[in-house]
Amino acid sequence: MSAANDANVVTYGSSAIVALQSGAALPSQFLTFMLGEEQYAVGILHIKEIIEYGSLATVPMMPDCVRGVINLRGAVVPVMDLSARFGRAQSTIGKRSCIVIVETEAGDGESKQVLGMLVDAVNAVVEIAAADIEPAPSFGTRIRPDFIAGMGKHNGRFVILLEIGRVLSSEEIVEMARGSAAVA
Amino acid sequence: MADDVSRIALDGEITIYRAADLKTTVLDALRKTRVLEIDLSGVTELDTAGLQVLMLAKQTAAADQRELRLLQHSPAVVEIFEMLDLVAFFGDAVLIHA
């Protein structure tokens, strides 16, 4: 848990430590969004745009967390259902559902991939200072610890900052697809 | 065709500045006759472009089974023809002025 007893001494989550050590600045701006009743956030550096939920083509034989693909100005972009990715039921499409388009590095570290994340609603972009970010708890959250980059304090509450590379990891998805295909 | 012989004269500077016109003039004249004689007595200057037109005329005449004769070569013309050893090419008798 947090060791921030002394205001001047703060410990950070693992990815934060790595980031600091490598000299990279932690993003201080985050997009917050809702999945069901819970609020999550993603650093805005990765975010390209946010679009309304539109017609989506399902791809057969893929795990539930891959909702399908959409047409993004001529590019065919996969869309992940974060709720399903976190092990819960697929999101129900509501009035405020949107797709957040993000760009992450592919597994080989060389190429970039563009993906969409289906969220129930998008909230505001908030500023969370590095000082207000605490490491992920090793238990107690309902999603995989490696999905969490840290816990951000905002407005007196904690927001789960997502480790987007892990969440949207296509290697894992491929593994899952392989598994489900074998069952066929 | 009877042996119709026409004659034209080229005067002044037979150089690049007039080369395009000269080409047209000479070839037109050549087309209208079987034998074309060109009087070169009035030529004051001859450069490569001018020379080329004459050489073109010679080649064209040969190709069309016509005849081109150059005569009364002025000193300017003679100098060039001798320097470039073209007398044989044109095949005309060149009168060497004293």
Partner: protein
């Protein structure tokens, strides 16, 4: 042009030149007349040397210089090319390739790691030049007069004069220069002994532009001035003009080189040289008496070894002139016929064409939706034009497979040597064109197939002879178009595949059920299964690592297929089938539930109404059993089927199957958009596309679909 761009061009051109050099070296063995090949080799080395000099790439200049020196001696007949030298020169080619690669990687100087190799090669080159390694110039057939006429010549010719050859550039006059003025100036440095004006370049009257210069001059010049001074006369036109200067008392070879270098006919040039006095008629005639059986102590070659004659065919000059003329005209033809295009620009164009197609489809849809005839007419015209643009753009991506095939000459040459087998390569269908991406990716699989054929297919010479075959084995590469695909065959006349052996091995490895009865074709195709290799001895080439299964997968990744047929004792043929284009596909849309799929049009035989007994997985197609694939089931799409389903009859190779779908939506030409690697496990989908409505449709991989079906039950053999 900035330096980087220039360097990139240099790299690309050097690679092309090295390829030419390699091809020429390989072909030298085959032809009796070597001069064309030798000139090509020399030209390549010479050009690379010159260009690398511009970039101050001293290490390349130095190395190429030694190569060039050797080639120069070969060119003038001082040394004869032999097999050892060919191999050495091929190694030099490789070494230069390595240096160019290093350059591409940013290394502008000699790499210390490869320097020793370079040193060694240079030493060997010098050895050959000094004649240690070269065999004696023994009796050379009279047909090939070149080495006999021009021999190692230490004595000079008789001419006391310089010879200056001038070919003024076309724009010389427009630049304000007058050739005659230059000649006047030249005359101040000495005495013009003889001069011939060369009007050969003057075109017919209609084409002749009076303001361009078409004249050339051959001049015999008596002067004590040095070469620099003479060249200095033409300083102001040296950029636009071809100037060649031959010093007094020069060797025969210099004049033959001159003739080679000039554009006019050789005989004519000989005549001109005589005219201007650099050569005498006597000398020319005298040269006719030179015969091939004279050895090294023949009388010193005079200037007059240039053979000219009415009726006497002058072997040296005509040969050189012909070779040169052919080169020149070929080069000119090639230069004017093609331009270098950045492949990124081409890709961008294809992308835009794709967008154009989609936009056109949208417009068409709207026209239909609002039922406006005028608009529909317009969109119809538009669609037609867009199709034409599409075809033209795709044409740009097509490259001939010849270049790929020709690379194999080298491979076969080297590998045959390594294996100690005598194997030749025949290539056919080099003009067949295919998409550039396919060409790039098919090289490796083909390479493997060829090596496999050489290693395992072709038997050792003794075995062949014992079987009544020729000792020399043949590999054949053939390419041709067939119904929308390109077919590449790799065949050998070796021992063929051994059925029993293959079957036994497959059973041993658990790849087939021993009880199953397989057709010959099925048995032969077992070699493509993973984990299969019947070679008793794993050689360096084919046994280890890359197997036939990888070859097959690579080909399938290109949406192609591979098949093998064989006759024991006679040989084997591997047939690779590839689609002509990867970018755009003619497809047929079908719908299941709310999902739209695209089926490649060339896989569809027909569409029929769905009619079968419930519970049956097949239907009756004109008396034949047609197994069914229910897409809804296959893809686990929810919902219930529509009342009137349809069957799309698919044909793939020899197999047919019926695909059951809800609705047929019609033909649609689409641009293929690759799917994210995330979907790589979904075997039956090969890509995606965007419909006129903006929706995404998935492209079915018919081969994979058939395969999954085939695994479950019998798949109908086509009649």
């Amino acid at each position: 042009m900035n330096l980087d761009e220039a360097l990139q061009t240099f790299i690309a051109e050097s690679r092309e030149l090295l390829e030419e050099m390699e091809n020429a070296l390989l072909n030298v063995d085959l032809a009796g007349d070597q001069s064309e090949a030798i000139n090509a080799i020399f030209r390549a080395a010479h050009t690379i040397k010159g260009s690398s000099g511009l970039f101050s790439l001293d290490h390349i200049v130095a190395f190429t210089h030694v190569v060039e020196s050797l080639l120069d001696k070969v060119r003038d007949g001082s040394i004869t090319l032999n097999d050892e030298m060919v191999v050495l020169l091929l190694s030099c080619c490789d070494y230069l390739s390595g240096m160019v690669d290093g350059l591409a990687a940013g290394q502008l100087e000699q790499d210390p790691d490869t320097a020793p190799e370079g040193e060694m090669l240079q030493q060997q080159l010098r050895r050959h030049m000094d004649g240690d390694a070269a065999p004696a110039a023994a009796a050379i057939p009279a047909l090939h007069a070149e080495p006999s006429v021009e021999r190692i010549d230490t004595e000079r010719g008789d001419s006391d004069y310089w010879h200056i050859s001038l070919r003024f550039g076309r724009v010389v006059l427009q630049n304000g220069m007058d050739p005659i003025a230059f000649l006047r100036y030249l005359a101040k440095l000495g005495r013009i002994v003889g001069i011939a004006t060369v009007p050969d370049a003057i075109p017919p009257a209609e084409e002749m532009d009076a303001e361009l210069c078409y004249l050339g001059f051959e001049i015999a010049f008596d002067s004590t001035a040095d070469r620099e001074a003479i060249a200095g006369v033409f300083e102001f036109v040296q950029e636009d003009c071809e100037i060649r200067i031959i010093p007094p008392h020069s060797k025969v070879s210099e004049y033959v080189n001159l003739i080679r270098a000039l554009p006019e006919q050789a005989a004519r040039l000989g005549e001109i040289l005589v005219r201007c006095g650099s050569v005498t008629q006597q000398e020319l005639d005298g040269a006719l008496h030179q015969q091939s059986h004279k050895e090294e102590d023949a009388p010193a070659q005079q200037l007059g070894s240039i053979l000219v004659g009415a009726g006497n065919v002058p072997p040296v000059v005509v040969e050189a002139a012909l070779a040169k003329q052919k080169q020149v005209s070929e080069q000119k033809a090639q230069e004017s016929r093609s331009i270098r295009v950045d492949s990124d620009k081409l890709d961008k164009l294809i992308d835009l064409v794709g967008e154009l197609i989609i936009a056109g489809a949208r417009a068409n849809m709207i026209g239909q939706h609002i039922q406006n005839t005028e608009l529909l007419e317009c969109t119809s015209t538009l669609t037609g034009l867009v199709e034409d643009v599409r075809d033209a753009a795709l044409e740009l991506r097509m490259v001939k497979i010849g270049a790929t095939f020709n690379r194999f000459q080298r491979v076969v040459h080297d590998v045959a040597r390594e294996l100690g087998k005598d194997i030749g390569l025949i290539v056919d269908g080099e003009d067949s064109e295919l998409d550039k991406t396919v060409v790039e990716k098919i090289g490796d699989p083909l390479m493997h197939l060829v090596r496999n054929a050489m290693d395992h297919g072709i038997e050792p010479a003794e075995v062949r002879v014992a079987a009544g075959k020729s000792a020399k084995g043949m590999i054949k590469l053939n390419a041709f178009h067939e119904s929308g695909s390109i077919v590449i065959e790799v065949s050998d006349d070796g021992g063929g595949l051994r059925k029993e052996k293959i079957l036994a091995k497959a059973v041993e490895r658990g790849l087939v059920d021993p009880e199953r009865k397989l057709t010959d074709s099925e048995i032969y195709n077992l070699i493509f299964e993973a984990g299969f290799s019947t070679a008793e001895k794993i050689t360096n080439l084919s046994g280890r690592g890359v197997g036939m299964d990888v070859v097959k997968r690579n080909i399938q990744a290109l949406r192609g297929s591979v098949d093998v047929s064989s006759r024991e004792g006679q040989g084997t043929t591997v047939t690779v089938r590839l689609p002509l284009t990867l970018a755009i596909i003619d497809g047929f849309l079908v719908q299941v539930g709310s999902s739209v799929f695209v089926v490649p049009l060339d896989m569809i035989e027909e569409c029929i109404e769905y009619a079968t007994e419930p519970g049956q997985d097949y239907t009756n197609l004109r008396g034949q059993v047609l197994p069914l694939v229910r897409l809804r089931e296959q893809f686990r799409i929810g919902g219930t089927a529509t009342r009137r389903e349809s069957i799309v009859v698919l044909k793939f190779g020899n197999h047919r199957a019926g695909m059951v779908v809800d609705t047929l939506l019609g033909e649609f030409q689409t641009v293929i958009k690759p799917l994210s690697p995330m979907f790589s496990e979904v075997k039956c989908i090969s890509g995606s596309t965007i419909l006129g409505s903006g929706e995404v449709a998935l492209i079915l991989d018919v081969a994979a679909l058939m395969h999954t079906v085939g695994g479950k039950g019998a798949v109908a053999q086509a009649a």
